[in-house]
Symmetry: C2
Subunit: 246 residues, 2 copies
Amino acid sequence: MTMDALLSRLKHYAEITDGEMLTLSGLPTTVLHRAAGQTLVTIGEALQNVFVIEDGWAMRHRMLSDGRRQILNFMLPGDCFDLQAVVRAKADHSVTTITPVRLRAVSAGQFLAALRADAGLASAFWWTAVQEESILREQIVRIGRRSARERVAHLILELHRRLMRAGVADQHSVVLPLTREVMADALGLSPVHVSRTLSALRARKLITTDGRTIGLLDPIGLARLAQFSDAYLHLDETMRLPAEFA
Amino acid sequence: MTMDALLSRLKHYAEITDGEMLTLSGLPTTVLHRAAGQTLVTIGEALQNVFVIEDGWAMRHRMLSDGRRQILNFMLPGDCFDLQAVVRAKADHSVTTITPVRLRAVSAGQFLAALRADAGLASAFWWTAVQEESILREQIVRIGRRSARERVAHLILELHRRLMRAGVADQHSVVLPLTREVMADALGLSPVHVSRTLSALRARKLITTDGRTIGLLDPIGLARLAQFSDAYLHLDETMRLPAEFA
DNA sequence: CGTCCAATTGAGGTACTTCAATGGGTGTGG
DNA sequence: CCACACCCATTGAAGTACCTCAATTGGACG
């Protein structure tokens, strides 16, 4: 029985992480632990592994020579990355941990062999690539055509949705392990202005902030302000497997 | 003999377009012609086909409800897109022609079958996906952390490189069928400021403009100003086949 | 209890936007 | 063949949304 049938049949039952799918499929994986602020992938180096984040946050980013930094996107528990390793690409950006991270690594060669052998596994990972690319595109819209308030509100809502899916956020609040500076480098703003913008959202009674926790006081108002629609996250189309396989 | 061996063996001989690769592999393809300004893919619709642009320009873009538009990237001759169709994804953005376009369409199902049957073909198209995603990431850096001058210079250089690869630009000039408004929506600027910025680049003797043609007076100065490095285009790693197969 | 880092707020500067007027190029109809 | 309309690019002038610099505060940690 291929994973394909399994996946489609059991799709709506429960969630299963990509890392668990890999072990399910009998692939040899290595579990790694990294402290916060460690570099996982350095720009320019040949990609050797496909990774799945099991716990913690990481980010993709690029630096300009004068110190400016742009964060491309955040990687959350359950996200997998560097599928490009299967064609032996060189990294065109770096990946760094934001919190302590537990992750699973699979050698690119073995991963590719598994994809070829199992169409369902290939389909599942293709979906993750579709989702990630879509998140990148939304990031372009966010930075290119939204105001600071819209950007901040939009990012909060995206991370909330994604963390909900990963099962590490509740309905009305979200813990973001991000400094104002990190948010700024993700949103193309200055840290000072991120702080001001959050103050403005608080003043409008859309959110509360308490340390790293953001309370969603008025999710509907926030979504309207940001013109947030979660279609780009392709949430309905996520591959799922029943909990008994976890 | 698989395409894999063929591709790797003949990689450095000559160029061949993705569309030609598809016919080489015996896939049934349809050639379509579209006028300028026509919609190829509408946001929300299910993707049915994988496309290869044979001639002309197109763009991916998203609209906000109040009319703001963000162009995500430009698609040039030789580019292929909507590989996501193979997992039956819904379009999360629209695709529109900029000039009259000739393109080749392959049904997603047949395309997927071909990828499964031919590892070399799969590898070649995986490369195109890697390149396109990398271009999206560079677009994020460009919009998020570069000044208007840097953005304009950087975009000109990217398009010049890509058009050189496609064989439709010479060393010292490039024809961009783009209005100031289109450039602005790609760069997250206003049309007026794009015009001013081009004037500034002209005043610095970095470029000339004449209608839709941009002359590269000082490519090195331009690249230094924009901090342009073409590593992200993965040019060395493009799949190639000899001209005799065209 | 001092140190350090992050967040916040104020004040002033700048890069970009918006509105508006002008001119060039092109296609069209009289 | 010219007159007109239309679109696009350019430039000026004024406004605004950000940025930078700087000072203050509060929390975490040794």
